[in-house]
């Protein structure tokens, strides 16, 4: 069975530095697939290659069997891939509603250059926006500026923006980073809730989160995938322990 997302020999060099080296990766539809590895292993760069932020030096990316290598970043959402960023990456001066609304509008069939109608005239999009915001527990902050939210709420908003794009695959880059234990747990639960409906590719450092929610784990080290397997396999993998678990914290 072909995976939803397939990377073939994907590489990226920055000048002389090889950030991602010959990565082959397959994400199965409907799974939660985690990528772990020490800082600087090339995980975020790898995400950037998939989401079109930077073009790869070599290799190809296929999504639903279609070659999406080098597609500009603004076309990636339209093939069904949404992304959440490592650093909170929202529109700070816009309201929560507007943050999610634009992402929703982007994927709607309305004319993209529609500047005759008001935002409020798009009733259906507005309703769906509110739905997603409620689902993420932000309904009370609907008309607040995003910059006024707490960090945890901003992370949730980030996920909401991703969901609004009606994706098949969601790329989550350290969704729990910097969150308090309680908020981390909420985020974990949220991801688990989403797991049934979306395919999720996840970068995560907190091992208990990874082990709790992942179906499949790839370990990255110096830009290469050094191990792959289910949570238990990875836990026991020696190479991983040496390269990663042993060396960390």
């Amino acid at each position: 069975m072909a995976g939803l997302l397939e990377c073939h020999a994907l590489s990226k060099n920055f000048d002389a530095v090889a950030a991602v080296v010959d990565v082959n990766l397959e994400v199965t539809e409907g799974s939660v697939h985690s990528i772990i590895g020490p800082n600087g292993a090339g995980k975020t760069t790898f995400f950037n290659l998939i989401s079109g932020e930077v073009p790869p030096t070599a290799g190809r990316v296929y999504f639903k069997g279609r070659d999406i290598t080098g597609l500009p970043s603004h076309q990636i959402p339209h093939v069904g891939i949404a992304r959440c960023f490592q650093r909170t990456n929202i529109f700070p001066k816009l309201t929560v509603f507007e943050n999610v609304w634009v992402a929703m509008f982007s994927r709607s069939n309305s004319g993209a250059l529609d500047f005759i109608k008001r935002v409020s005239d798009f009733g259906e999009i507005g309703d769906k926006t509110r739905e997603i915001i409620s689902e993420l527990g932000l309904e009370e902050k609907l008309t607040e500026r995003a910059e006024t939210l707490s960090h945890g709420q901003q992370r949730a908003l980030e996920v909401a923006i991703a969901l609004a794009g009606a994706p098949t695959l969601i790329l989550l880059d350290e969704p729990t980073q910097g969150l308090a234990p309680e908020a981390t747990q909420q985020m974990t639960q949220l991801i688990q809730r989403l797991a049934g409906r979306y395919t999720i590719l996840l970068i995560e450092h907190k091992m208990h989160v990874v082990m709790a929610i992942s179906h499949w784990i790839s370990v990255m080290h110096f830009g290469q995938i050094i191990a792959e397997g289910g949570p238990d396999e990875i836990r026991q993998n020696e190479a991983v322990q040496k390269a990663y678990l042993g060396g960390r914290r």
Partner: protein, 306 residues
């Protein structure tokens, strides 16, 4: 304050203005008000700073002026002039939006200079340094009052149209680009395309204002396409405040009023203008809008205090 109330204030200004000041000054305030509001679609909403808007103002004025001189009716001259600017701004904008930040400023500035020198050198067409004279007004608009009403109607129509645009999804998309261009791309928007759209819309309204200006004195002076004029447009916009749709109108009014008033009292009046700008930048980023807000706020507080 709600938009509707502000709109009423603007309306009140348009009606009362010509009774307390020379019509021509209010007329210019309205014409440049269009430009400043349009400019804010770029500066305030999309986060692009163009130092070349005078080229579109001037070209709109030249094209409309030439058509009117050729005997075309108003109904042809103004739309054609505006359309010309629309097409041109797409072409120029295409090159400009490839770059961001300082480079964008430099390129728009440089394009402005290029078109200035074309206008300057192509004397047969534009009159060069002497300006393009003898632009007729349709007989209906010969009377200064009639012309003022015409400009006021154009102004209000532009205002409504631009308000509609910024309240539309496009307006919101522009703001996402201002806030976070890479994120805007990541939710699926072609950032360069939308920047070009904002550039084109702002430039087209600027060009439209130019076509109206051509009829004001019946002449298009060369300084209307000079880079210093582009500077004026930016200052009007920032002076009013970029955080509010209506702010730049106050900027245009305030800027023209200041230059008219200060120049009566001191020969070195640009120095006062400079000081005002410095104060705005260092202490009053929100421009006149912020000033009014602060005054309004302190009045409210004073009223609430026992």
């Amino acid at each position: 304050m709600r938009d509707r109330n502000i709109f009423l204030i603007v309306l009140a200004f348009v009606v009362i203005g010509p009774f307390v000041q020379p019509k021509v000054i209010i007329t210019e305030m309205l014409i440049f008000g269009i430009v400043a509001v349009a400019n804010n679609i770029m500066i305030g909403y999309t986060g692009m700073l163009s130092f070349g808007q005078a080229m579109f103002f001037g070209i709109g004025a030249y094209v409309a002026g030439l058509l009117l001189k050729a005997g075309m009716p108003l109904i042809v001259a103004l739309p054609v002039g505006t359309l010309f600017v629309l097409v041109l701004s797409i072409a120029v904008g295409y090159f400009c939006v490839q770059r961001t930040g300082l480079y964008f400023i430099c390129i728009t500035f440089a394009f402005n200079q290029m078109f200035y020198f074309i206008a300057y050198s192509w004397t047969g067409l534009t009159g060069g340094e002497d300006g393009l004279p003898g632009i007729p007004r349709p007989s209906l608009l010969l009377d200064p009052v009639a012309f003022y009403v015409f400009v006021a109607v154009v102004f209000l129509a532009c205002l409504v149209a631009m308000k509609r645009i910024v309240d539309s999804p496009l307006g919101l998309i522009c703001q996402t680009i201002r806030e976070n261009p890479s994120r805007a791309a990541a939710v699926g928007y072609n950032v360069k395309l939308y920047k070009l759209t904002a550039f084109t819309i702002a430039s087209t309204f600027t060009g439209l204002a130019g076509t109206v200006y051509a009829m004001l004195y019946g002449i298009v002076p060369i300084d209307q396409i000079h880079w210093l004029k582009s500077g004026d447009f930016i200052f009007m916009t920032l002076l009013g405040g970029t955080g509010n749709f209506f702010g730049p109108i106050m900027g245009a009014v305030g800027y023209i009023w200041m230059s008219e008033t200060f120049s009566l009292y001191w020969a070195r009046w640009p120095l006062i203008m400079g000081i005002v700008f410095v104060v705005v930048v260092l202490y009053l980023r929100g421009g006149i809008v912020e000033l009014i807000g602060k005054v309004y706020g302190s009045i409210q507080r004073a009223r609430e205090a026992p």
